[in-house]
């Protein structure tokens, strides 16, 4: 069992757990993920690492309430435990001194860009971070990410904070600037965001790494559920990734595979709510 030592709600639907997981903490690197499971009937889901402390033996993950599993996770409190927590999985994000790097993150993935920005900064890069949210109320970790960024740009879809618009707009401005010396872009967030970040950087031929988040089961290379086509080749995001060249990813295929269980996800959540007496169809 993996005890939750600390829980924070970063926004009403985005939560942070700091867990006791010394094995994972001892080996964790930026860009890696864990597979977690909550209880005997739970599914295995991947969560990218938001932070870790090897000395303390703790690992921090951040998740957003989307389906049954994450909604149920959000009901856990400090002192509760997760039944399973396996990792660190996947290959670490490759860190080097590239010069100037732009980190782009959207939504709850802002938590997972933090360790990447930190590692890049510590490796001597000039780090520009763009983080996008739907609205001001959903913003979190401005300070935490800002600490490792030479420049921090925040966008909101509704203009309630920072620049109004999508993350691709300030990114395009940076790339189009006459003094552009950006050597790579690293993006993590919703698939559609990573797709459009890649489309934005493509004409500038700026190397762009994306951290893919396909559906996974085992997360160790056994099932192939997370396979993605990259440069015409089938790769497993869990063991060959999760980072890939965004210009070479077959985005439409990835998005279709991510939608494989939409109907089941709705059903699962609805049934869970009904069991707790909070469902829509209750009493009908």
């Amino acid at each position: 069992m993996y005890k939750i030592l600390e829980k924070q709600s970063l926004t009403p639907s985005i939560h942070l757990f700091k867990l006791d997981a010394p094995r994972v903490a001892a080996k964790a690197s930026a860009g890696q993920f864990v597979i977690i499971r909550n209880g005997d009937k739970g599914e295995r889901i991947p969560l990218t690492l938001a932070d870790w402390d090897a000395a303390e033996g703790t690992v921090t993950v951040v998740f957003m309430e989307v389906g049954k599993t994450t909604v149920e996770l959000a009901t856990l409190k400090a002192g509760d435990s997760l039944s399973d927590f396996a990792g660190p999985l996947g290959l670490p994000t490759h860190i080097d001194n590239y010069g100037t790097v732009v980190c782009v993150a959207g939504g709850f993935a802002v938590a997972t860009i933090m360790p990447i920005a930190r590692a890049l900064k510590q490796a001597g890069n000039r780090v520009i971070t763009i983080m996008g949210f739907r609205s001001k109320e959903l913003l979190f970790w401005e300070k935490e990410v800002g600490r490792w960024s030479d420049e921090l740009v925040i966008t909101t879809d509704d203009g309630s904070y920072g620049r109004k618009g999508l993350v691709t707009e300030p990114l395009r401005d940076l790339l189009a600037a006459p003094d552009n010396n950006i050597s790579r872009v690293i993006a993590i967030g919703p698939t559609v965001m990573m797709k459009f970040v890649s489309k934005t950087t493509e004409p500038f031929k700026t190397r762009t790494l994306v951290s893919l988040n396909p559906v996974m089961v085992d997360g160790t290379g056994m099932c192939g559920c997370c396979r993605v086509t990259v440069d015409g080749e089938t790769r497993f995001a869990c063991v060959d990734g999760p980072d890939f060249d965004g210009h070479l990813v077959d985005w439409d295929e990835l998005m279709a595979r991510q939608k494989s269980y939409l109907a089941e996800e709705v059903k699962s959540l609805e049934q869970w709510k009904c069991q707790r007496g909070t469902c829509q169809t209750e009493g009908k």
Partner: protein, 462 residues
């Protein structure tokens, strides 16, 4: 003395139509009367041909004699002396090509149903535990890490523990058992039986650490540096192979590993009670002709689909056990033999809709000795399918090899190890089972693990 029955006693099975709609065990096991009658067919030959056919050399005539004498505790003890997992082996061993193929009764009729008797004794013992602890030799003070808890890892751990060594097992998944849990379906091998046998191994003093992906947490080298005197690799062959044809990554196309893991390990057949879903499909095609293909096909059928097995050679070349093919056929699974998929097509949402195939014919024998399938020109056709499961076999997961210094592997990614001893090219590291041979059987993995354990014991005591 009663006349010897030349026919074996059939084991009752669930009715095919009934069982095609549930995940309960198909074969129901012998009654005490059936077991007694089948046991009476064993001639207790002085030359123990059957034992030589068993990869772990179970003392077959001896346990059957105990059974004849109705001394079930003794029968169980004899079995467990050589085989820590009899409930599993009694169900999934290909006895027809091992112990039973050597039985003298083959000359006059049917061989003694050794596997069914083994299962009977194991099941009896599970329901009537003696509580008597297994005999364990005094502690040697040596420590061994066993990586992987499938048939090889469990066997090696049990053997070494009984020989007085301290054993820690590491399992990547959230439950021990490896392919016995994620691969073989409930209706062929109930998971309760697997867990019962895992508990037995733990009762020998073996510790089990779950969610521990060796190579991602400590590497093999780090385990050795941290105080383990030896390491056994029983990590299996978990990397699925694909066809390499267009459309293979459409939604609705599964590897057999994924399909079976969802259904067996994660219990998708109980969705939404269990969280993990699986696409049930209306028309399912399973591609391949091995036991895994049969397992996947029979799972898909039980989920409610119309299922066809697509195999590029003819029935004779099918690597699946005859019994499994028969079971599948009885349940209503169709076979499209001499057929090979050439591509998959999806709808606008990239969900699988159809599969393109060609017909094949058999040419001259190839390297495997089987007749090579050749495409029949102009035989292209299309099949309506919404789920496809690719069961073409597996190769070892490269993680351990990539993270272990000096561990030699061959071209197929399998670990190079001495066949007689399981010793790898790396100091203090042994390996056995599918990680060495590529996908094979549960019992051959157990045999390799036993040989490795014997060699490890020699090393640890020297």
């Amino acid at each position: 003395m009663a006349k010897l029955n030349l026919n074996r006693i059939e084991m009752p099975r669930q009715d095919p139509l009934e069982r095609g709609r549930n995940f309960e065990e198909v074969a129901l096991g012998y009654t005490p009367e059936m077991a007694a009658e089948e046991a009476s067919r064993c001639l207790n030959c002085p030359k123990r041909f059957c034992v030589s056919g068993c990869p772990v050399n179970v003392d077959i005539p001896e346990f059957i004699v105990a059974l004849k004498e109705n001394d079930l505790p003794k029968a169980a003890e004899i079995l467990k002396r050589k085989n820590a997992l009899p409930g599993i082996c009694g169900r999934v061993c290909p006895q027809e090509s091992q112990c039973e193929s050597q039985c003298i009764m083959n000359r006059q009729g049917a061989p003694v149903a050794i596997g069914r008797l083994e299962r009977y004794v194991a099941d009896w013992e599970r329901e009537n535990p003696s509580g008597k602890p297994a005999e364990i030799v005094p502690s040697t003070g040596k420590k061994v890490a066993v990586v992987g808890t499938g048939p090889a890892g469990l066997t090696c751990a049990a053997e070494l523990a009984m020989l007085g060594h301290k054993v820690d097992m590491f399992e990547a998944l959230h439950v021990a058992g490896g392919v016995l849990m994620y691969g073989i379906p409930e209706f062929r091998l109930p998971k309760e039986i697997v867990q019962g046998e895992v508990k037995y191994v733990e009762s020998l003093g073996v510790t089990l650490e779950l969610n521990a992906v060796v190579g991602k947490i400590d590497s093999v080298d780090e385990l050795l540096a941290a105080g383990y005197d030896a390491v056994f690799l029983g990590t299996g062959a978990g990397l699925p192979m694909f066809l390499g044809v267009p459309g293979e990554n459409l939604s609705g196309v599964y590897s057999a590993n994924e399909f079976l893991t969802r259904v067996n390990l994660m219990k998708a057949y109980l969705f939404p009670e269990y969280d993990t879903p699986v696409q049930v499909g209306r028309k399912v095609a399973v591609i391949g002709g091995g036991n895994v293909a049969m397992d996947a096909a029979r799972c898909a059928l039980r989920l409610g689909a119309e299922v066809s097995v697509i195999y590029r050679r003819s029935r004779e070349e099918m690597p699946a056990r005859h019994e499994e093919v028969e079971n599948a056929e009885e349940e209503g699974i169709k076979f499209r033999l001499l057929t090979n998929p050439t591509g998959f097509t999806g709808d606008e949402k990239l969900q699988l809709k159809s599969m393109q195939c060609v017909e094949m014919e058999l040419g001259e024998p190839d390297a495997s000795g089987r007749r090579r399938p050749i495409v029949k020109p102009g035989s292209d056709f299309s099949l309506d399918v919404d789920v496809a499961v690719i069961a073409l076999g597996t190769t070892p997961n490269p993680l351990i090899a990539q993270t272990t210094v000096g561990l030699e592997t061959n071209k197929r990614g399998t670990v190079v190890a001495d066949e007689a001893t399981g010793k790898t090219k790396k100091d203090r590291v042994w390996a056995g089972g599918d990680v060495v041979t590529g996908s094979a059987t549960v019992i051959s993995a157990m045999g390799a693990a036993k040989r490795a354990a014997a060699d490890m014991d020699r090393f640890l005591r020297s």
